[in-house]
């Protein structure tokens, strides 16, 4: 049946919502450039074309490439093992392997450096970041393997191809887009990562941007380096768009899905199980063990009042950011799910661009913007919440768009024919059906905000401390034991919703 392309004009309310979100995202992107070139292009060029800048860029990109490569290998292998092999305890591993996603990078870094202080520098940063970012590849590949058509592999086998050939030519091809998407996330994440590299004392662009902002009154270098960082994040984005390709991997034609036959690991079964256990030990075991160890030592010196206060602040900010992001994401979700067109695509693309922007750059440009134009809210809660929304809006849009798209549009039409106005229909039917997605969106933003560090450091109201900033200031002072209670509470806050979300996504796939 020929499906009609919807050419209906989106209602003004939605366009206004989308416009507001675009402005919110556009301000930091443009303002960082404005601020960097404030003193003329010459000063800008001088900062950018220094050898030091190139060195920093190489260090940041080098780390990103190593971590991304390792994450892709680990993520794809792990996803394949838990879906397609006879690995013992696959159900357990399937959920457990995704859990490092809940771990804030600086807690992992804190745990590693507390255990092995000699790991300072590139090695430590690479190990820590790989141990927590491989799930960005693992989860989408897991989903792709679940959706892949097992008949293709069966046909290839029956045409006389060996299992290794099938893995390389059929299975890998089916998960390619998912893996590239995950790799992109890892790359962007590592490039913009600030906390773990700082704790690991690895001089990267982000760390130097922060210290140059803190160290001097001349903030042009910080802004200029911010531009370099943004430019660096554009490269992997371009590659991902260019090479993810449009090759068809979905099932073509009808037919019932079957579960794929599992590949027998035979002699390698137990050694591989050992490797998977070791992976989990590195990514979850080390932080967990350190959490317990340092908490034991640190509890005597802890001011529990401060912990309680920081917890309350964190929860409040995270809730505010989640609410704001959801409210802004709903019109964009409606726009792109129901009125797909240029306008909706542009707004969504902008929101994703906001996610690709390093948190430190967003924070920096909001600082400049706030000092000059928005003094009333500079270093106040609304501006901090605004920064969170810019950085995490795409998380909310993704979840909300998906769930609205799943609610059949025919229900909207039936409801309208029943005499209800469009806006009433959105509230009484569309959003009601999309409620699970809206919940997921709120949870995702909540978790991300409660862990966020660089924007919080730069934009928090004076005297306000979150769990993350408290922990950071203590690790900065090499006071690992005192950081432990904050780390414990943060992990607890982030773990519970993450476990729920992971379970939901794993069951779905």
């Amino acid at each position: 049946m020929l499906r009609r392309v919807r050419r209906a004009h989106p209602p003004l309310a939605l366009l206004a919502g989308g416009g507001l979100a675009s402005v919110l995202v556009l301000v930091p992107i443009t303002y960082i450039v404005v601020r960097a070139t404030d003193r003329g292009w010459q000063t800008f060029a001088d900062t950018v074309w220094r050898q030091r800048t190139l060195e920093l860029l190489v260090r940041s990109v080098g780390l990103a490439v190593v971590v991304t490569t390792a994450s892709v290998v680990i993520g794809v292998a792990a996803a394949w093992l838990v879906t397609s092999s006879d690995l013992p305890g696959r159900r357990f591993w399937r959920v457990a392997l995704a859990m490092p996603l809940a771990l804030p990078s600086y807690i992992a870094a804190w745990a590693w450096i507390g255990w092995r202080p000699d790991l300072v520098g590139f090695d430590g940063a690479a190990i820590v970041l790989t141990s927590i970012s491989y799930p960005y590849v693992y989860l989408p590949v897991l989903g792709a393997l679940g959706r892949a058509d097992p008949a293709l592999a069966d046909v290839a086998r029956s045409c006389g191809r060996g299992p290794w050939w099938v893995f390389v030519r059929v299975t890998l091809r089916q998960v390619r887009i998912a893996a590239v998407g995950g790799a992109l996330l890892v790359m962007l994440y590592v490039l913009s990562e600030f906390a773990a590299v700082s704790i690991m004392r690895y001089e990267s662009l982000t760390k130097v941007i922060y210290s140059s902002y803190r160290a001097s009154f001349d903030r042009t270098p910080a802004a200029a380096l911010g531009c370099v960082l943004v430019a660096a994040t554009m490269v992997p984005l371009w590659f991902a768009v260019r090479f993810s390709g449009s090759g068809r991997v979905a099932r073509v034609g009808a037919g019932s899905t079957r579960t794929a036959a599992t590949v027998e690991l035979r002699r390698l079964r137990w050694p591989i199980t050992g490797c998977v256990a070791a992976l989990l030990g590195f990514s979850l075991g080390v932080p967990a063990w350190n959490l317990v160890r340092w908490t034991g030592r640190g509890s005597s010196t802890t001011t529990w009042n401060d912990v309680a206060e920081a917890t309350a602040t964190t929860l409040g900010l995270a809730a505010a950011a989640a609410a704001a992001a959801v409210i802004i994401a709903i019109p964009i979700g409606l726009l792109s799910a129901r009125y797909a067109g240029r306008c909706a695509r542009a707004v969504t693309a902008l929101a994703y661009a906001g996610h690709a922007l390093p948190g430190i750059v967003v924070a920096l440009s909001l600082v400049f913007f706030g000092i000059r134009y928005a003094n009333a809210i500079y270093q106040r809660t609304p501006m901090l919440v605004g920064a969170y929304v810019v950085i995490f809006l795409s998380l909310a849009i993704g979840a909300i768009h998906g769930s609205i798209a799943q609610a059949p549009p025919i229900l909207d039409e039936v409801a309208r024919s029943s005499g209800r106005r469009q806006v009433t229909v959105w509230f009484s039917v569309t959003l009601r059906l999309a409620a699970p997605g809206i919940g997921t969106a709120a949870a995702l933003v909540f978790i991300a905000t409660s862990k966020e560090l660089p924007a919080t450091l730069l934009l928090r109201p004076i005297g306000t401390d979150t769990l993350a900033t408290q922990l950071w200031s203590r690790t900065d002072a090499v006071n690992y034991a005192a950081a432990a209670p904050y780390a414990c509470v943060l992990v607890l806050i982030a773990c519970i919703p993450t476990a729920l979300l992971t379970r939901a996504s794993v069951t779905r796939s």
Partner: protein, 355 residues
């Protein structure tokens, strides 16, 4: 009376080239009648339905609900203000509401006694009394469509629009539901338009059938008229199976392997013709001298479809086997049989291209 009148309605969608979904459609749906729009996928019938409901704006033309102009180049009444009841293809109950709340969705004062009475009465008439508290996923496909019908009828709509409402159901359920829907709609005195690609559905349910092709209405009339007097070959095929016999025109008659046959044509004809019949018009007659040879027999339950080589043609004939005798005792492949044509051909083709 509030007839639904569609005048010269056109609509196209942007694209390369633009898709012309409706081209100058004229259709009147008299108050209290059921009209079926019959056409293949992509012929524009769903666009017509959506234009009446108010989800699409016509590029040109006017739609009247009685005296109210609901769509024209001056006015576009919003869907929620047209009083239209929609029964979509499938799965269109609100999953978060129970059956009673679904039916009451279009009612103004949902808690009032009148509303509750109306819901009860409608559920009674669709045969689902006592299912008020059920959730949509607890109902079978047929029951879901009954609830959707009750929901669409609840607020006494000016027109009820049914968009292929039975295609998702299995074949046994379909016939029963068709008859029930007609009875319920008549009982409510509602005006209805049903969109379908199934000729049996259109002909059995509607007072008037309108055949649509490439955005145009090619023929409108009663189901029987269209079946017996289609305007062209495509319409003939759209409404049911056909079979062709070649003949030679001779004034108002044609000479064929089945003898001389009267034909309806404008003026007199001569030269080669093809006579289009319905398979049930090719009758087996023991009194006729053998003129064909059976080349294939398909058993269809109440009848058999027999392929017969008849001179230069291979024709398909549908013969009833109502007397209970196994068909093999009467006809076998290779038998010579005597055939005759019952009634006039539904169409005479003078363009002798193969189709």
């Amino acid at each position: 009376m509030s007839d639904i009148i569609i005048e010269h309605v056109s609509k196209s969608y942007a694209g390369r080239p633009p898709v012309r979904a409706l081209e100058g459609v004229d259709l009147t749906i008299p108050h209290g009648s059921i009209v079926a729009v019959l056409g293949r996928s992509g012929c524009g019938k769903t666009t017509l339905l959506r234009t009446i409901a108010g989800f699409e704006r016509p590029d040109a033309g006017t739609i009247w609900f009685g005296r109210d102009e609901v769509a024209s180049n001056r006015r576009m009444v919003a869907p929620e203000r047209r009083r239209v009841g929609i029964v979509p293809q499938e799965g269109a109950l609100f999953p978060h509401l129970d059956v009673a709340a679904n039916v009451a969705f279009a009612l103004r004062n949902r808690r009032s006694r009148e509303s509750r009475d109306r819901v009860g009465q409608l559920l009674e008439s669709v045969g689902l009394a006592g299912h008020e508290r059920r959730r949509p996923h607890e109902l079978s496909g047929g029951q879901q469509q009954r609830v959707a019908l009750a929901r669409a009828l609840a607020s006494h709509p000016a027109i009820l629009l049914l968009d292929e409402p039975f295609t998702a159901l299995d074949i046994n359920l379909r016939a029963q539901l068709r008859a029930d829907v007609v009875a319920i709609v008549r009982n409510e005195g509602a005006t209805a338009m049903i969109v379908s690609h199934d000729p049996a559905e259109a002909m059995s349910m509607a007072d008037t059938v309108a055949v649509m092709r490439a955005g145009r209405l090619v023929q409108t009339g009663s189901g029987e008229d269209l079946y017996r007097r289609p305007v062209d070959h495509e319409t003939a095929v759209m409404l049911g199976e056909v079979t062709e016999i070649s003949g030679h025109g001779n004034g108002h008659r044609a000479t064929t392997p089945l003898g001389d046959i009267d034909i309806d044509v404008d003026g007199s004809v001569s030269g080669p013709l093809r006579l289009v019949f319905r398979p049930e018009q090719i009758v087996f007659d023991e009194g006729v001298r053998a003129n064909g040879v059976i080349t294939g027999i398909q058993f269809h339950g109440s009848d058999v479809v027999v392929t017969v080589r008849l001179g230069p043609d291979s024709v398909r004939a549908r013969w009833p086997i109502g007397d209970g005798r196994p068909h093999r005792e009467r006809w076998l492949v290779g038998d010579a049989v005597g055939l005759r044509a019952a009634g006039r051909p539904v169409l005479v083709r003078r363009d002798l291209r193969d189709h």
